[in-house]
């Protein structure tokens, strides 16, 4: 079975494969949009860290579309979420 990091890379590539019939640029944007809409921030951060070598995971073997999608997301993203935000008091 896949490790968690392998699973993240697998998911990203799987999304990219399903947009393959479009031209490369549209596929990259569609993949990025999908990940933006559905991946929680930690999953995204972990992938960014793995891709630029700053995290604990080895660099994943991502396909070109997924790789470009993450690059796009990285440019577009908001500042990293604060982890230690005080829990909502209602």
């Amino acid at each position: 079975m896949m490790s968690n990091m392998e699973r993240l890379a697998y998911m990203a590539d799987q999304i990219a494969r399903n947009f393959e019939t479009q031209d490369a640029d549209t596929a990259v944007h569609a993949t990025a949009e999908h990940i933006r809409s559905f991946w929680d921030p930690r999953m995204k951060e972990r992938m960014f860290a793995a891709l630029d070598g700053s995290g604990a995971d080895p660099a994943p073997a991502l396909g070109p579309v997924a790789r470009a999608a993450f690059a796009l997301l990285r440019e577009q993203r908001r500042p990293p979420p604060e982890q230690a935000r005080a829990p909502g008091a209602g």
Partner: protein
């Protein structure tokens, strides 16, 4: 059976509805009724009940009892009012001296051969024979009371829920007709002739062994005590009734819960129910005993570690502990380290509160629901193509369909009451296409035969649907006028070019899918040109690595052929659970608020922030599989699970167990100690659907009321428990009734703006969208335009799943449901339904079985790359060679140890339907099963209770 005030009008409303009204006179009173109405029904509508025994208004008239005779001016003889339609100016008399004497004569014949133990009979007070004897003034039976043929016959008590006592039968044939017309199973018949006529089940077998599916339609139809519920025999007749909605499948049958005090005597399907029209299945009608099962937990429990026994505590202690733990975990690991799973069996109001608890209380979006593992691709696929995450029609629409295509669904097992309606339409002449690897019952069942069965190889859905599209486009069968008007023409052109490619033709994919090209072409042509084409699909579509793509491919086909936007057509996902549609509507997904609005949408988020008084997280949260991954990574530590058993129902059991084990506070709110509770630290006892108020939304988007019929045995309704927990966390909720929760939902969700308990009570039910634009709800969607404006054609390329067969794992396993058990069986295994399906079996083709030396009933080991388990084999030709099939109703089977961690690309819906396996003979349960069973038993210990069997 109409003792409690539900009016039975004798015969159904006219089948063919014209605008014409007919005026006639009955007993000196003038009345007007629609053309085609029988005299009996016309009289009943006026309040006059003509004596009858063989007539009932959910069955076609039969005319056998000869009690309902009337006199009509100008016509000779004494015609039966049930079989005689009204005519303009007709003058009818329902009571004359001659009619009275004829009727008495009929009753004398019945009573001459009928036991006279009325006072101790289960039907005392609820017997139409008694009523008729009284109505006709029977005083004396010339033939004596010692009938020769009927009396003294043995009772058939084989069925766990009802008794068949042939001695009391008057051979009115209502049971036989109910089994034919209403249920469509044709299990009953009248054998013999004259005085020797008897009701027989199948080949004169007992009910349990026969083809009877225990739907109870015959019991409901029977005018005497011949077919009676065992609960009525045991308790007595009920004295009041409350209408509520079933908590099993997505059909959402409504029932009259007939009570005596707070004791439920029986559940009788409600005739006004728009989803079920007075019919039900074995589960809804009979399998409610789990509410009183000894396994039911009634007191909160906590424990420090999962290997310790449970300790019963007060509600206050349990909730304070839970709140404390969640806050401690958030302080240590971060706001996003806890989350919740809402239930698809609990009400809309309860689901809304759980997602509110997570969003307002936990401060994140880590909320998900069981739709993740079943219809999340429907949500994604239909949202993308049409703009709404739901089916387009209501169930009644099937009666206007000309071509019905069933893909990856087994309605006679999974949605039985709807399956019966579909069969009714098919018996009327509609055509049927079944796309399923297995020869499901619908392919060949009494008086119904599929015109085409396409037994595709599991995993090749998209290839088959694209090939159908290929046929439709290349043979010029597309509805261009519809497409030009309702869809984006350029997107259509792109899609049409894609599907027209020779590589996507039926011939090119024949080898891959196993579907003969000629059959596929014929099926596609039939769907495109056969008239109203309606597609019904289920988990055989969604639970694949291309589940979302398959849903979009279905939507593409419907758009290309113009089969959207009116009755008789559409795309109909058969949603499984009683409230999975509702749970999704309520914002249970980590990326959406109620009404399917993305969490990043500023305007929506502000609306909730203002109402709830907190700022909300704009980033999507974790889906269930991601929660488990994050748990094994050490970043997700607390989970609140309401009414869901992820350890039994989610794939890759080892991974789920590892995830749960890694958490520090798992809270389970459920009726029983389910499998997930093996890893729980807090157990909160929940309430059943009989014990609370709320609403469920069925597969038709129909919101229906759930009404409380008895006090919750555990002390609180489920929504009250969530409120108590929320308040223990300082959220200050003050709901006193679920209607207030629905009012909040309506305030915050445009598609629900017109929904309220008052409106539901008044109208019976509402299909969303229900707002100013549609105050009485929306049965058919996308009538003039799609919700997203233009329908979107999405190119869906076939991508083979990575789950490959090979020498080590040469067979493909697919899974499904059965009629008598429901999903993980938490409820149904704790009722008498275990009579039908006491264990899961592996269906295997005779050729594959022979290759392996496997015989019927042998233990076999079922192995995949993920794991191994053991179960008994059933050798059958229903599966093709190379495909095996099983169900997942029993935790002992551990079916999900086998399933992989492959899932749908868009939604992570697990690929349950395609697992590469090997099957071989075995001596008995696998080591894992034995270890699991031992661990489960240890985990169910409650301090102070003696150890009991799990079921």
């Amino acid at each position: 059976m109409a003792w409690i005030g539900e009016l039975d009008l004798g015969t159904p409303a006219p089948a063919i509805v014209t605008e014409k009204m007919v005026a006639l006179t009955i007993d000196g009173l003038e009345t007007r009724v629609p053309e085609g109405t029988s005299i009996m029904r016309a009289a009943a509508l006026m309040g006059t009940s003509i004596p009858r025994l063989c007539a009932s208004d959910n069955l076609e008239s039969f005319g056998s009892c000869r009690l309902c005779l009337v006199e009509i001016d100008g016509r000779g003889g004494y015609p039966a009012s049930c079989t005689t339609p009204v005519a303009e100016g007709m003058v009818v008399r329902t009571q004359t001296a001659k009619l009275a004497s004829l009727r008495r004569g009929v009753m004398e014949l019945y009573i001459s051969d009928h036991p006279l133990d009325c006072l101790t009979c289960a039907a005392n007070g609820d017997c139409e024979l008694q009523d008729m004897a009284g109505a006709v003034g029977l005083r004396d039976v010339r033939y004596g009371y010692d009938g020769a043929t009927n009396m003294g016959q043995p009772k058939d008590e084989s069925n766990p829920y009802f008794t068949f006592d042939p001695s009391k039968c008057i051979v009115c044939s209502r049971c036989v007709r109910a089994c034919e017309e209403v249920q469509g199973t044709f299990a009953l018949t009248i054998q013999g002739r004259g005085f020797g006529s008897k009701v027989a089940a199948s080949q004169d077998e007992d009910f349990l062994t026969s083809e009877c599916v225990s739907c109870g339609a015959c019991v409901q139809a029977c005018p005497t005590a011949t077919l009676t519920e065992k609960s009525v025999i045991g308790i007595g007749t009920p004295d009041r009734a409350i209408v509520t909605t079933c908590a099993y499948c997505g059909v959402g049958c409504t029932f009259r819960a007939e009570m005596r005090g707070e004791e439920l005597v029986r559940m009788v399907p409600w005739k006004e129910g728009k989803a079920n029209h007075g019919h039900s299945c074995v589960k809804g009608r009979f399998a409610w005993g789990y509410a009183n099962h000894r396994d039911r937990i009634l007191s909160p429990m906590i424990r420090e570690r999962v290997d310790q026994p449970w300790r019963e505590v007060s509600w206050e202690e349990a909730l304070t502990h839970t709140a404390g733990e969640f806050r401690r975990i958030q302080a240590k690991y971060g706001t996003r380290s806890i989350g919740g799973i809402t239930s698809s069996r609990c009400t809309n109001e309860e689901t809304f509160l759980v997602q509110k608890l997570v969003r307002q209380g936990f401060g994140n979006n880590n909320v998900d629901t069981c739709a993740r593992v079943c219809h999340s691709p429907t949500g994604y696929g239909l949202k993308t193509t049409f703009g709404t995450s739901a089916g387009t029609q209501d169930f009644d629409s099937v009666m206007h369909a000309d071509v019905i295509m069933v893909i990856g669904a087994n309605p006679t097992d999974g949605h039985p009451v709807f399956g019966s309606r579909m069969k009714r339409r098919l018996r009327q002449g509609a055509k049927l296409i079944v796309v399923d690897p297995r020869r499901i019952d619908l392919v060949r069942t009494p008086h119904v035969a599929a015109d085409h069965h396409l037994p595709l190889r599991p995993g090749t859905n998209v290839a088959v649907l694209t090939a159908m599209a290929h046929v439709i486009v290349t043979e010029g069968l597309a509805d261009e006028a519809f497409i030009r008007e309702r869809c984006d023409w350029d997107e259509y052109q792109d899609w049409a070019a894609f599907v027209s490619h020779p590589d996507r033709s039926p011939e090119a994919i024949e080898k891959l899918t196993g579907v003969p090209a000629a059959d596929l072409r014929a099926a596609a042509r039939l769907y495109a040109t056969g008239g109203n084409g309606a597609i019904y699909y289920g988990l055989g579509v969604t639970e694949h690595s291309q589940g979302s793509s398959t849903v979009m491919a279905i939507a593409n086909l419907a758009m290309a052929t113009g089969n959207i936007g009116r009755e008789g057509v559409g795309v109909n996902p058969l949603r499984g659970q009683n409230n999975v549609q509702g749970s999704c509507d309520m914002g249970s997904f980590p990326h959406e608020y109620s009404g399917y609005r993305h969490v990043s949408d500023e305007a929506t988020r502000k609306l909730f922030e203002q109402d709830w008084g907190v700022s909300l997280d704009p980033e999507p949260g974790l889906r269930i599989p991601n929660m488990l991954d994050a748990a094994t990574d050490g970043e997700f530590k607390g989970l609140f699970i309401q009414g869901e058993d992820i350890l039994q129902s989610d794939p890759n059991t080892h991974h789920v167990a590892a995830g749960l084990a890694a958490m520090e506070c798992v809270v389970v709110q459920d009726l029983f100690l389910n499998e997930t509770a093996n890893y729980a630290h807090v157990f909160l006892p929940g309430s059943t659907f009989l014990e609370k108020d709320g609403t469920f939304t069925n597969a038709e988007r129909r919101i229906q009321l759930v009404r409380k019929v008895m006090s919750p045995k555990n002390g609180y309704a489920d929504w009250e428990i969530v409120q108590l927990l929320a308040n223990a966390m300082g959220l200050g909720w003050a709901y006193t009734h679920p209607s207030q929760i629905m009012d909040e939902i309506a305030r915050l969700t445009p598609t629900f703006a017109g929904v309220s308990f008052e409106a539901l009570d008044r109208l019976g039910s509402l299909q969303w969208p229900a707002n100013e634009a549609a105050p009485e709800g929306t049965p058919t969607m996308h009538i003039d335009h799609f919700v997203r404006g233009k329908g979107k054609f999405v190119v869906t390329d076939y991508i083979a799943t990575d789950e490959k067969t090979g020498p080590r794992f040469p067979l493909l396993l697919t899974t499904g449901r059965i009629l008598s058990q429901y999903n993980v069986g938490a409820q149904t295994r704790r009722t008498a339904n275990t009579a039908w399906h006491p264990e899961d079996l592996l269906e295997i083709h005779p050729a594959d079985a022979e290759d392996r030396g496997i015989c019927e009933g042998d233990w076999v080991a079922l192995r995949s790359r993920a794991g191994e388990t053991t179960l008994r084999a059933k050798v059958t030709g229903r599966v093709a060679p190379g495909v095996v099939y099983t169900t997942f109703h029993h935790p002992g089977t551990q079916a999900n140890v086998i399933t992989t961690d492959y899932s749908d690309w868009a939604t992570n819906c697990p690929e349950y339907k395609v697992t590469a396996v090997q099957v071989s003979p075995s001596n008995g349960p696998s080591e894992w099963q034995e270890d699991y069973e031992a661990q489960a038993r240890r985990s169910r210990r409650i301090a102070g209770h003696t150890l009991e069997a799990a079921e």
